[in-house]
Amino acid sequence: MTTVVDARGLACPHPALLTRQALRRAGSGQVEVLVDTDTARENCLRVAEREGWQAEVIFEGSAYRLRLTR
């Protein structure tokens, strides 16, 4: 099952914090993170990289869907 974290509209550092929380809780599998600013996208991708997850970025008009897998 895919966990989805909706971090749209949240200011720093909450998107990154929620992403880390979700990745650690899931341990492995697939986690999707929704963000709507480029700063949040970069921060969440940095978290994913540090936690050892692969990332795919899907642009969905007004938001980014970060598909994180491990």
């Binding site: 749209r8 509209g9 949240l10 200011a11 720093c12 550092p13 909450h14 990154a16 914090l17 880390r20 709507d36 600013t37 480029d38 700063t39 970069e42 940095r46 978290v47 540090r50 007004s62």
Partner: protein, 379 residues
């Protein structure tokens, strides 16, 4: 370039360039150890607009205009201009006001704390310790679940309000209209407000800094917050780079001009006081308020330039806070060397001390009670 600024080197290069330009701005005319100070410059703008009447700190600083518009230009070029707003504006306004009061008790924002240190002013060490303490408390509150509500996407015009406001300020700075008897755009004739680089120099430097700040996400508070909260050092490199290059530029300026730009001491520092406790406590309040609002004063300007209406409200809160800080004598009074050679140590008045206490109480209450799940039914 898009990838470069998101890399490890982005904040370092941005911080290094900001450090050099800030030190040079002093050579070009800005006050000593105050090449760039977001809090002081917004305070000077409040004075220029007559929101306070401290005759020593009134000047419409074009650097601030440049920070916002430089960020807007970068955001447009890289398609990152995103009009958004609606995350607890009243809380952000008050966080801005109290952040300003805390910063003015110390006499500087985090950028100026770094620049003061780069000029040898050891009082900045107390302020940086206070900043770290305030940010640390903010991190504890975030770990406990603190968050302001979500912003939502807005029509383009909302994102353009802050850049528009800055264009208005620039026009006032250029044309200096007089609105009636004793109703000018105020400009100090002595004191720090009278010390400034040429308008075009300040504006261009501001635009460059705004551009770099938007691209690199440079943030002094974020550097400490990410370190404490996530063990992340991405932004910290930028802060250290700013300190190092400002110091080196000061050494070069000392060597080339024969005027000392670095003097290591606690006493007799420009626009500073050596009241250690209040240097610490003032910046602790500011650091906590920055942490709860998600950015240092510079970062808030960059965010407001890329369309963030909540950051813009924080900035306006800072400007209004500066009005209160001088109208109610809350700001720190600089140390003064008397004619008989004795030093009168400055610091905040009792009113400033009470304001810091009220600000800390406000931040703690907000930090302990504002929760996302209160509005959304989930964490």
């Amino acid at each position: 370039m898009k990838r470069f600024f998101a890399s490890r080197w982005g904040p370092i290069v941005a911080g290094a360039i900001i450090g050099i330009l800030a030190a040079l701005l002093v050579y070009w005319g800005n006050p000593k150890n105050m090449g760039v100070c977001v809090a002081c410059f917004e305070r000077d703008i409040a004075g220029a607009l007559g929101l306070h009447r401290n005759a020593l700190t009134q000047y419409l600083r074009p650097e601030i205009v440049g920070f916002v518009l430089g960020s807007t230009i970068a955001a447009l070029l890289f398609r990152e201009f995103r009009p958004r707003a609606g995350s607890a504006p009243i809380a952000r306004f008050l966080l801005g006001a109290f952040a300003m009061i805390g910063a003015l008790v110390f006499l500087g924002c985090p950028w100026r704390a770094l620049l003061r240190l780069a000029g040898g002013d050891l009082n900045a060490l107390l302020a940086l310790a206070g900043l770290a303490t305030g940010v640390g408390i903010g991190v504890l509150l975030m770990r406990g679940g603190y968050a302001l509500g979500r912003a939502s996407p807005q029509p383009a015009v909302i994102g353009w309000l802050m850049p528009g406001l800055m264009v208005g300020l620039l026009l006032l700075a250029i044309f200096h209209p007089v609105f009636g008897e004793g109703l000018p755009i105020f400009a100090s004739t002595k004191g720090p407000g009278a010390a400034h680089a040429a308008l075009v120099v300040s504006l261009v430097v501001g635009l460059v800094v705004g551009f770099l700040g938007q691209r690199s996400r440079f943030c002094t508070m974020g550097a400490l917050r990410d370190l404490f909260l996530m063990g992340e050092t991405h932004l910290l490199g930028g802060v250290i780079a700013l300190l190092v290059t400002a110091f080196l530029t000061n050494l070069v300026l000392t060597w080339t001009t024969g005027t000392p730009y670095v003097r290591v001491s606690f006493l007799d520092q420009p626009v500073a006081h050596s009241n250690h406790f209040w240097n610490f406590a003032g910046m602790a309040l500011a650091g906590l308020a920055f942490a709860l609002a998600g950015g240092c004063p510079g970062r808030q300007l960059f965010l407001s330039g890329e369309g963030d209406g909540d950051a813009a409200v924080f900035v306006l809160g800072m400007i209004v806070g500066a009005g209160f800080a001088h109208n109610f004598a809350l700001a720190g009074v600089p140390d003064q060397r008397l004619e008989n050679g004795l030093l009168r140590v400055g610091g905040p008045t009792i009113y400033g001390q009470i304001a810091v206490a009220i600000g800390l109480a406000f931040c703690l209450i907000l930090g302990l009670t504002a929760r996302l799940r209160a509005t959304e039914g989930k964490p």
